[in-house]
Every structure is written in C-alpha cells, then in structure tokens.
Symmetry: C2
DNA sequence: CGCTATGTTGATCCATATCAATAAGTGTGG
DNA sequence: CCACACTTATTGATATGGATCAACATAGCG
C-alpha cells in the first residue's frame, strides 16, 4: 500500500451511509490500509478479469462500468457519488466482471478487499450496510435486464429520459449526464439508432439540442413510455 | 402462519450452506415461523410487485422467475435446488421485482422476511452466508446482462448449450432442462428463432432431437461460441 | 485554426420478429 | 385404445427494428 489514508479524508468517508454506524476502532482498521486518490478523466481503474483487490467508493466525479467480449464492448452502468462499485467481487473474492473508467476527474476511495471481508465479520452495522448496498445493486441490474428484454429501444430511451427528469427534480429541461455515444451503448443500441430514436420521440414533446433535453409534455411522453416502479424506480 | 415447520424438515434445511454455520438458538428462531410446503407444477408462488413477506428456498423441483411489462413477458432465470430466491427483496423489504412459478412439483421452504432480517443482525455466520448468496445472485445477473448485450442469439444459444454440457459433467449428450418455448424467452428470442438457431448450430456438431441434445464436437462449437469465465462460469 | 472525435443523416443490409400453416406431442374422456 | 382438443414445435413467407456503411456536419481541443 502506497500510503495510508490522510486523516483529513476520514470525515468524508465516515459520513457515508456505508460507514456511518460502525464502531470507531473497526473504522480505524479499515482506514489504515485505505487511501483516497484523485484521478483525471478517462483513466482505467479496473479491467474486467482482474482480481478484486480493492473496494472502490466514488466520492466525486463519475465512473462508467463496461464489459467486452469478442471485440465488442458495452456500457453496463454509470456510477455517481456516493456509492461503491464492484462490491460483489470484493465479497466473493472473485475477479471483476466489469471494467471501470473515470468519466470526469474523480475522487475515489480504495479499501483493501481483505479488510472489508474481515471487518464484515466483526462489525454488525457494517455488515448490515454492505448487504443493503449489495441488495440495491442487485435490484438495479434486475431492473436493467427487464428494461432490455421487455422494451424496444425507443421505449428504453423514453423511460430513460423520464428517469433523468425525475433525478433533476422533475425539471422541464435538463442536461444529459452522458455523452450520446455512451448513452446509446448503455441503452443497448448504436449511436445512429439513438439519433433516430430522439427524433422518434419528438411527437411526444421531446426536444433535443446537443446535451440539452426539454420535455414539454411529460404526460404525453409517459403515455408512450408507460414507466413502472418495478423497472424505473431507481431508488428502491 | 398456518403451521410451524415440522421438525422432520429441520435437518434438510440445516444442511443448507445458508444455515450450516449458524447458532442453534438462532436457527430455532428462524424455523419457528417458517414452514415447508410441496407445490404442484405451474403454481404461482409470487407475483411481481407483491410485498416480500417470505424468503423462499427451493429444496426440490424447479421454479422459474419471470417479469412482464405492457403485455409482454420474459423469463429471467430458473432456480434449482438448493438455493434461495428473491433474497434481495427480503433484505430491502421492498416489492418483488419478478414473479415466481413452479415448473415441476417442488418442495419449498418459506421463512418470514422479518425473521431473516432480525436474525441477520444477531448471527454473524448467517449474515456471512446471506451476503455470499446475494453476491452470487448479483454476479449471475451481471453475467446474464453481458450475455444479452454482447452476443447474438446464435452465440447465446451456443454458449448456453456449452454451459449445460458442463452441468452434465461434460457428457456428450444430455436433456434440455427447459421446454424450448421457455428457453427461447430466457435467451431473449422467439420460439421460431430458437428453432432456427438450433439449425444454425448443426454445422458445429449440435444435434437436436426433441429435448435431447448431442454435441459431437465440443471444440468445434467452442471455437464458434468463444465462452469466457467472465460470462459463462456459473459457479463464481 | 486546423485536427480529431462525436453526432447526424441517408442508403442499404441483416438479424430477428411476426404471421400463417402444419406437424407432433400430450392429456382427457368415452 | 382411440378420438378429440389443446399446447408446443417446426417451417415458410414476409415485415421490421436496428445495425452497418458512407458521407457530411459539428464541436471540442491542442
């Protein structure tokens, strides 16, 4: 381990839901082997298949998780503060299933997987937090899979926009968080198809200008998108 | 609760990886509110959206998990002994994201979700087992999603067959565990397309006769399917 | 101010869905 | 044991969503 985590970072980490309720000495144990690092954009943090040495926690910035096979690549998810990523690999001590790369300049905490596993065994509250986080991740992927298997690409885009709208406090207009090329991959389509899909949503009051989205008539779009909490509620 | 679990079922449950290491009194607590029931085939156990009152554990038989939206339906997974299902909903005390139905006559243990959550808080070993199971489930869905997004339907079928072959101790011939209609849905395609996909694999030594599959030249099929542990290893 | 990556648009192609007809099981009751 | 209904599987014909290829536009960025 290069260096331990500077104590100045402790409060930030300590405030995370994941660590909020744990005992002081356990927290100290975790922090001893950990560190926080700031990465520039477009840095590969993890390559799928690597052994899972660290639990990563994103504090600021954004990270994309992607996978590839046989020369093809797809975006699996984007991770934004404050959450962990690749927790399951850490728990199971198994290889990462996805690669991770910074999108923007990002501050990331790295905690040795070995420590996470051992503290899990001794600290109830930490264990509780870990399992809640993991269950959340699981449910997210299940929803994502339902989205993929049950909807056309146009429907996926429509519902994605409605979810984004919700994340922006139901604002009439907002900015896409993702570059379109990546959004296309995330939604399981090509950039060309995404371009056309945006056009296809014009009749439902979707206006696009670069990364700027305006949904003039939300009800209209919802009538088409038919969102359901069992797929689109990104909280539960 | 209808009736508590008959003590005759205790040893079966106790032997499960999930309960093997837990303390006797905690185990007794869990069992008090639980019961084991045998269901005929084609019985709906769970409807997506329902509150998650019970953790289900399949002891014998088989169960399919499916989801639907807007009149469409898809098979998400099949569950075989011995494993839990819909663990994440129990943990989060959130609605089920998938429906569950028996395929065959099945023996299933039902444990009140509330008890699972409270015992989790007091029994280390149980907590450890729960989190391992959950991490396993999570990784399975991620693999499944990679399969869907990165492969064509022909490639998905080819790799599915190779995985089945592995589950049958690398036997040259074996029976499909799933009716073809359902397999198609699981693989994200129509029955018609599956029929044609089987034909499309003939050049690689795949012979189909009803549910009977014979893979004459495994290397040949693998050269086409390009399986990878990061998608196809159903264990880690 | 070009250079390079990203986005758009059009033309075409292809994988897969859909529709339709037939065949093959599977189970039921007579 | 057979006739019947009913579901599932196959096969062919066709339609279509989405991919691919190509050209051009645009926007960051050094």
């Amino acid at each position: 381990m290069l260096i331990g985590m500077p104590e100045s970072d402790y409060p930030d980490i300590r405030g995370l839901h994941l660590f909020a309720d744990m005992a002081d000495d356990q927290f100290a144990t975790l922090m001893r082997g950990s560190y926080v690092q700031t990465f520039p954009p477009q840095i590969n943090l993890i390559v799928e298949g690597d052994p899972s040495d660290f639990l990563h926690i994103i504090l600021t910035g954004s990270v994309v998780l992607s996978s590839s096979w046989n020369g093809r690549e797809t975006t699996m998810a984007t991770v934004r503060p404050i959450s962990t990523f690749i927790l399951a690999a850490t728990i199971k001590d198994a290889p990462y299933l996805m690669s991770a790369k910074t999108l923007e300049k990002s501050r990331i905490a790295l905690i040795p997987s070995q420590d996470v596993r051992s503290v899990f065994d001794t600290d109830h509250n930490f264990a509780r937090a870990i399992v809640t986080e993991l269950a959340q991740c699981y449910r997210s992927v299940v929803k994502s899979q339902k989205d993929l298997k049950l909807r056309t690409s146009l429907e996926r885009l429509a519902n994605y926009l409605l979810r984004q709208r919700q994340k922006h406090d139901d604002a009439v207009a907002f900015e896409l968080q993702l570059e379109k090329r990546r959004l296309a991959s995330f939604l399981g389509m090509t950039p060309e198809n995404l371009s056309r899909a945006f056009k296809g949503l014009q009749p439902y009051g979707v206006e696009v200008n670069g990364n700027h989205i305006r949904i003039s008539d939300c009800d209209d779009l919802e009538k088409f998108a038919k969102p359901t909490p069992l797929i689109d509620d990104f909280r539960s």
